[in-house]
């Protein structure tokens, strides 16, 4: 089932972005937007739920840390043919590598279990990313 993982790096074809203030009340807005995007791609209800939970872990962490430099962070949904990658961006470099293995063990365990790829430290501005692969024959849905 995972043999397509390498192929998914090509065929990158669509981007949706959501820019949110560092406020707890908008984390549910992110979940709702994610669920719309993911279900349109053809993820089933359980997979959509997984994506919402993982995304929410990141948003909560960013919001609880906040930023002294900027007001908002950016969630970029990258829709590949058979993979959804969600990249979290912010011009505040202090939010790089925001998860720590000790205090965030629950959140990290959850993200790793629910997503196919979790990169907790990426380039500056692009803080971190999580990906989920579209299994089965649903990738024609879009």
């Amino acid at each position: 089932m995972m043999e397509n993982l390498k192929d998914t790096m090509i065929d990158y074809f669509e981007t949706i972005e959501l820019i949110l203030p560092f406020k707890a009340e908008y984390v549910s807005t992110a979940r709702l937007t994610a669920s719309s995007v993911a279900s349109k791609m053809g993820f089933n209800i359980e997979e959509v739920e997984d994506i919402k939970v993982a995304l929410s872990e990141v948003c909560s962490k960013l919001v609880s840390r906040g930023s002294k430099v900027v007001d908002s962070y950016r969630i970029v949904f990258k829709l590949f043919k058979d993979k959804l990658t969600i990249v979290f961006c912010c011009e505040d470099g202090t939010l790089n590598c925001v998860f720590d293995n000790e205090n965030d063990s629950l959140g990290i365990a959850i993200m790793n279990a629910l997503m196919d790829d979790v990169e907790l430290c990426t380039k500056t501005e692009q803080l971190l990313l999580i990906s989920k692969v579209l299994k089965g024959e649903k990738q024609d849905a879009i």
Partner: protein
């Protein structure tokens, strides 16, 4: 704004039950923590948390459940979690919390 989390409590001689309706996330977690901790404070019984209408919980919420369990144990009481939906039971399994709580 429609409240995303409604918590109701029900005390009997044997246990105190807290029913959780809605979503526990970073926005509602403070309310969740205060409710559970204040119930523990005022009751000397086991705690049942009815999650049959809990739609969503994140790691902060799970951490609060762990904290609640620790506080309860200190008083010699147990925490029972009932009615977990499949998507949330999954999070208990992933994090190993299913082994800490009595899940019914």
């Amino acid at each position: 704004m429609p409240s995303e989390l409604i918590l109701t409590e029900n005390m009997s001689d044997d246990f105190t039950e807290v029913k959780v309706v809605g979503e526990v996330d970073i926005y509602t977690s403070k309310q969740f923590k205060e409710k559970l901790y204040s119930v523990l404070e005022s009751s000397g019984t086991d705690l049942k948390i009815d999650c049959s209408e809990l739609k969503y919980i994140d790691s902060t919420g799970l951490g609060i459940l762990v904290g609640t369990l620790k506080k309860a144990k200190l008083k010699g009481n147990n925490v029972y979690i009932t009615g977990l939906k499949d998507n949330i039971k999954k999070l208990f399994l992933i994090t190993g919390l299913d082994k800490l709580f009595f899940i019914e």
